[in-house]
């Protein structure tokens, strides 16, 4: 396991955990320290590199753990927890640290929440450049390039600077390096060389969304160096009795760490995921060999191939096929789909995922999450049953009289 108390790792991981737990606090202290602007973006496709190239701190705005109060009178209860939290954060002043808001995603609930923010915080610029969500049309790439150009103008105006190609290329390199390092953690976990819990992985990824990227990368390097020095041989971890699980779903906001911990307490070992606060976020690098502005557009389009998303439409790409392939590669025994209640893209896509998994005899368990948390003991019972069912299937005695046994050469 990633030992948070190991000497070399302790301080580094703690710093990441603090930022992941309190992104607004981190942004406030960064702003006080540097005197520079903080620009908030919304999930899941805004390229942080563009903001970074202005010298401002790009922060992907997170769901707050605060109980929703004022926000209840701004968005109805049948919105996802993330969007209701955004409305609430705007109303109670938790977003005041941000000097501007930017977004590129078109989720109907998200747009409702951002409209609330625009209304509650009229003095803070809020820019929306809607990236096309139909990814494989002949005009898709051109449209995204246009939108990147308009976002460039907006963020330049906010910060009062010009983004040079060199500055953007530099930012791209920094973010690519950060993603590459995070993928190394995934590789180590998948290979069974280290144990990194799902909640620890979430901390690693989530903190990268809110921290100064160079500071984050330096801390990742410390942790990684320590881990690699202590890592076992591939497949040599002591987790053989655990059921290997792939976590799927959960866009925009992270599932609560305590939920992830409960899942792993039930005999499941999370070895991979396609969560936004997980592999989906770090799946794709921005090309470094083309014009850096065009590269951001390519990144957006490439991403839906690297880790297909239910919020995009693309004829030649399927999340379900990707998921099956990913399970083959990681050797996961089953899938737990985490669905934020009222998340329409996931509600729409889930039957396709289930159909594909059923078609491959891969067990799947659906767990709905809410802002207020979930009934832990109920989840525990369901996960324990799920894990037990997989265990039994794995150890089932093969049926007698199957063809090959009786066959003669």
């Amino acid at each position: 396991m990633l030992d948070e108390n190991a000497f070399a790792t302790q301080d580094a991981f703690a710093t990441l955990a603090v930022a992941a737990t309190d992104p607004v606090g981190y942004a406030q202290s960064w702003k006080a320290r540097t005197g520079r602007l903080v620009i908030g973006s919304f999930p899941m496709n805004f390229p942080s590199e563009l903001t970074h190239a202005t010298g401002a701190l790009p922060v992907i705005i997170q769901e707050s753990r605060t109980t929703i109060t004022e926000g209840r009178s701004l968005l109805p209860e049948f919105y996802c927890s993330y969007t209701r939290s955004l409305a609430d954060q705007a109303a109670v002043g938790e977003l005041d640290v941000f000097d501007a808001f930017v977004l590129a995603d078109h989720c109907v609930q998200l747009l409702g929440a951002v409209d609330v923010i625009r209304w509650a915080k009229p003095q803070i610029p809020t820019h929306f450049a809607q990236f096309i969500s139909s990814m494989d049309d002949p005009w898709s790439q051109g449209q995204v390039i246009d939108k990147i150009a308009s976002l460039r103008v907006e963020v330049e105006e906010i910060v009062g600077t010009t983004i040079t190609p060199e500055a953007l290329a530099h930012s791209i390199r920094l973010y690519n390096e950060n993603r590459r390092l995070l993928r190394e953690f995934y590789d180590l976990r998948k290979a069974g060389r280290v144990r990194i819990t799902a909640s620890q992985m979430q901390t690693l990824v989530k903190s990268s969304m809110v921290m100064d990227i160079e500071e984050h990368t330096a801390l990742l390097r410390d942790i990684l160096a320590d881990l690699e020095s202590r890592a076992g041989e591939p497949g040599q971890d002591a987790t053989g009795s655990l059921v290997r699980i792939h976590l799927s779903g959960h866009f925009c906001a992270p599932p609560r760490p305590e939920l992830l911990d409960v899942i792993e307490e039930c005999g499941a070992l999370v070895i991979n995921d396609d969560l936004y606060h997980g592999f989906r976020y770090i799946s794709t690098d921005v090309p470094e060999d083309v014009d850096p502005f065009d590269a951001l557009a390519l990144w957006y389009l490439d991403r839906n191939i690297s880790a297909p998303c239910g919020t995009r439409v693309q004829r030649n790409v399927d999340w379900d096929s990707y998921l099956i392939g990913s399970l083959d590669e990681s050797g996961a025994d089953g899938v737990i789909t985490l669905m934020a209640k009222f998340c329409e893209p996931l509600m729409l896509y889930y039957p396709e995922l289930k159909k594909a998994l059923d078609g491959h005899d891969i067990p799947v368990l659906l767990i709905e999450t809410e802002h207020e948390g979930v009934a832990v003991e109920s989840v525990r019972t369901r996960v324990e049953t799920f894990v037990e069912r997989i265990r039994r299937n794995k150890t089932a005695v093969p049926a007698v009289a199957s063809g090959p046994i009786l066959a003669t050469n």
């Binding site: 009222f342 893209p345 509600m347």
Partner: protein, 462 residues
Amino acid sequence: MSLDVSSREPVELLSTRDRTLDAVDKSNRLSSTKTGGKMVAEYWENIFTAKERGKHVVWYNGTALNPIFQAAGLEWCHGEAFSARLAAMHLEGPAQAAGEEYGYIGELCSYARTHLGCAVMTQKGITEKQNGIVGMVDQEELASKLPSPDFFVNAYAGCSTGQQWDAMTYRVFGKEFPIFNVSLPMIWGNKKDAGYLRGSEWEKTPLYVEEQLKKLIEFIEYQTKRPFDWDALSENMFYIKRASELRLEAMALCAAAPTPATYWDWVASIAPINFMPANQALVDYFQGVKDEIQYRLDNTISAVQNEKYRVYFDGIMNWNKLGWLTRKFAEYDVAVVAGRYTHDSFWQEPQLIDLDRPLLGMAQHYLICPINHGLKIMEELLIKRCDEYGIDGIAFHSTRTCRAMTNPQHILARTAETERGIKSFFFEGDVADAAFYKDESLESGLVAMLESIDMQRSRALV
């Protein structure tokens, strides 16, 4: 208060679907809209036989692409329209059950899951036919009667679910039929010059959509193996433009108090303006509606007996409850005179239609769908309508599975109160899932709002 249960009267627990209001019906709906009902019924009956007639069938959602389909000689099935029809006829159950069995969760857009349920049933019918099985899917079930598509076209404004819904329908049919996506950006209205039908964003965005519509026509030509009939498109848009003008002229007559027609009459006229074939019959329909309204005005015939309050309806229609709501509001002397869904939709700016360049006007209309604006424009439109129709109060239909319509409602309520002192209330319901409707929520909210309006009026007299 007696606690003796034996003396209590049994409580009436029938759903609103199965009972009628005890009060006298004080609503007076237009009779001319019945022609529309007949037109729509005939339209769907015709669609059900499309395959037998050797026609190409397109499934689509969202915006009114039908003039293009009509010009291309296609038969068109509008997903929401069919879901709404099932719900209005209280026949949505089998489709929703099929969707649920397939895996769609009840909180998903009920238009989408009803239509996806139809897709599941249609797909099952195809599979059974291929396997030589006859009659497993009940062909008497209205929900199972849609002809299978030859291709899909998606053009959905203002709601991300709209595009994803068609992507899922495409998958339900095993990706066997081609799909074409028209991407309609939201009119976010963030620039200083932004507003309804104005500003740089408004000038630029329709051109981008117009180009996609040209590509759509190329796609249709490829699918049908026929050249597109541009003259037919202009002719279709001529009829739509004229029908729209008549509709708006008739709506304007309802600024009179008491109003000669209500929102519910305009709801009954949505299907004709939204997806009926563009022809003289369509124009005649709206001429008939306008004539009846004019007749009522000339003869002082009101749509609600004793109109005392004029209310605006914000939210998408609750199709299960059209008749019920018509009577319910009238019972309280409320004339619901206008609404976002009826008055800010469906070819509502006919002056934009240029018959020599029809695609641009169509693109513009697709972008002014009432869920495709940012809040600033929504506020502008709401205040405009409230002023036009002398609105006293607003009924916000908090539409459980339609986040697109619900998005701005809480802030719109504040805007109406702040800008015009207009009171409002919220009630819960849904587009096509009767389970979400709360009659008590409507009644208590409505009564409270009317009392507030009475108090406002009393104060104004002092």
